[in-house]
């Protein structure tokens, strides 16, 4: 699998992104590039900025400085007019919507639309954003529901599905839009332990298909097996990055990472 982080081939290019909520610096000059087909996992203690970073990539959160580019195109901002010395301007809502359609996101809390069936959840973006006909959208929805093992649940409402099933619909909803990149935000954290496996199996099969993914997770074993690279974040910055074997090595010299992994092993193994 590709581990290249060469900027010229980068699909996602996060450059020196900083963000603060009031006096708290959640992101401190974070830089990270992700090549097409890569699976990058972000780990780190809670409050280290992992989720915020992910939410900046599809501009669910704005950022104060730096830039985030997907396929060379800046996500949330465009250059301003020269008379304003080119200061960046927030994109219009219409532009933002169009750009967000190029990134898929799966949430910790599933966030399915409760009034729509499993198929309906998937069809909404296909019909309203991609402009597909109902029939076409329905067949795409059925295809993806089949892929996540829920072909028989197309007409079930979210309330009738288990957490693991809801999350698989959440994944199907995101990938059916054929995004360039898929963002997974702690997608198994809200699940009962026995339901985690079925969701991770779906993620693994997407990775095998070559889907570019950035995921935040606490599933270390999964991160080790499925990732091209692992990013360790601490205090809003990237503290370590590299192939799983290097980053998760017990003999790492990175003090913070060693503490994090030690604490993690103590509580999870």
């Amino acid at each position: 699998m590709a581990t290249s982080s060469n900027t010229s081939t980068a699909l996602l290019d996060i450059a020196e992104v900083s963000k603060s909520f009031g006096a708290v610096n959640v992101l401190r000059s974070v830089s990270l590039t992700v090549a097409k087909g890569e699976v990058v996992t972000v780990i780190g203690p809670s409050g280290s900025g992992k989720t915020t970073l992910l939410r900046c990539v599809n501009f669910l959160e704005s950022y104060d400085s730096g830039s985030i580019r997907i396929d060379g195109k800046e996500v949330g901002f465009r250059p301003g007019p020269a008379r304003n010395s080119g200061a960046r301007q927030r994109r219009s809502e219409r532009d933002l919507a169009a750009m967000r359609a190029e990134t898929g996101m799966v949430f910790q809390g599933f966030n399915l639309f409760p009034h729509l069936t499993a198929a309906g959840n998937i069809m909404l973006g296909l019909t309203k954003v991609r402009g597909k006909s109902k029939t076409e959208a329905r067949s795409i929805a059925e295809h993806w529901l089949g892929r996540v093992g829920l072909g028989h649940k197309a007409d079930s409402l979210p309330a009738e599905l288990s957490g693991g099933q809801q999350q698989r619909v959440g994944i199907a909803r995101a990938v059916a839009m054929e995004p360039k990149i898929l963002l997974l935000d702690e997608i198994t954290s809200a699940l009962d332990p026995e339901l985690v496996g079925e969701v991770l199996a779906v993620v693994r099969s997407l990775a095998e298909d070559g889907m570019t993914m950035v995921m935040v997770t606490h599933e270390m074993a999964f991160a080790r097996d499925a990732s091209s690279r692992i990013v360790f974040m601490a205090d809003g910055g990237v503290s370590a990055v590299g192939p799983p074997k290097e980053v998760l090595a017990e003999e790492t010299t990175n003090e913070r990472l060693r503490t994090f992994l030690a604490r993690f092993r103590a509580s999870h193994f």
């Binding site: 219409r94 967000r100 898929g104 949430f107 909404l124 309203k128 954003v129």
Partner: protein, 221 residues
């Protein structure tokens, strides 16, 4: 006390009550329909507006909620035409008043419903690339409806009962019909027993219908 109930005179004039009930329902339906439009538009505006607009909408809601309906009815029917050059029937005047009145209550119901829509659902709507307008139509409003339907049913029933206030400006609805029969037959106990039963049964029928709508809404697919 040798009072014996005699309903014969009530039945003889029952057309007054039946016609009155139909008019009451008509007044309620038209007023509530306009009120829903007022309520929805203002509630959506409120949650996305700045402080000034919010202040104006809140003032409208507070004004209506703190003035008795009967006073508003007098103000619009007797007061307004003396100030401005407008001519309208008692019925139109009442519909306008009840529409404004229900609008204020419905703004509150819809606003709290909109604010109760989980953030995560709006995030999900953004993430699949829906525009703000599409998020409102396809995510926010449907979820809001599920949240507000029970409160909405109660508001509708109470607005239906409020149509009885129209009798004070001689709109021939159900309560007015009752008064007419009372003045002409003096069978006060009988007529108000019958009318009470009519309000009760209509209220129950409305409630039942609205519960069906709620259930349908929760399970529709």
């Amino acid at each position: 006390m040798g009072y014996t109930l005699n309903f014969n005179l009530i039945w003889r004039h029952f057309d007054k009550l039946w016609g009155g009930l139909l008019l009451s329902l008509e007044l309620a339906v038209i007023s509530i329909a306009i009120g829903i439009v007022i309520g929805l538009v203002l509630a959506v505006w409120y949650v996305s507006a700045g402080r000034v607009v919010r202040g104006i909408i809140a003032a409208y809601v507070e004004f209506i909620r703190n003035v008795p309906l009967i006073l508003l009815v007098y103000l619009v029917f007797y007061g307004l035409p003396t100030v401005v050059d407008l001519v309208y029937s008692a019925q139109t005047s009442f519909v306008a008043t009840l529409a404004l009145y229900s609008g204020a209550y419905l703004v509150e119901v819809f606003r709290s419903g909109l604010e109760a829509v989980p953030r995560g659902q709006l995030d999900a709507g953004k993430a699949i690339g829906l525009t703000p307008w599409q998020r409102l139509i396809h995510v926010r409003l449907p979820t809001m409806m599920r949240i507000t339907l029970p409160a909405l049913s109660n508001t509708f029933i109470s607005l239906f009962k409020d149509t009885s206030v129209a009798s004070v400006i001689s709109v021939p609805e159900l309560t007015y019909g009752a008064q007419w029969i009372n003045f002409n037959t003096f069978r006060i106990v009988e007529v108000y027993l019958v009318v009470t039963a009519m309000y009760l049964m209509t209220g129950y029928a409305l409630l039942f219908a609205l519960r069906l709508v709620e259930r349908w809404y929760r399970t529709a697919r």
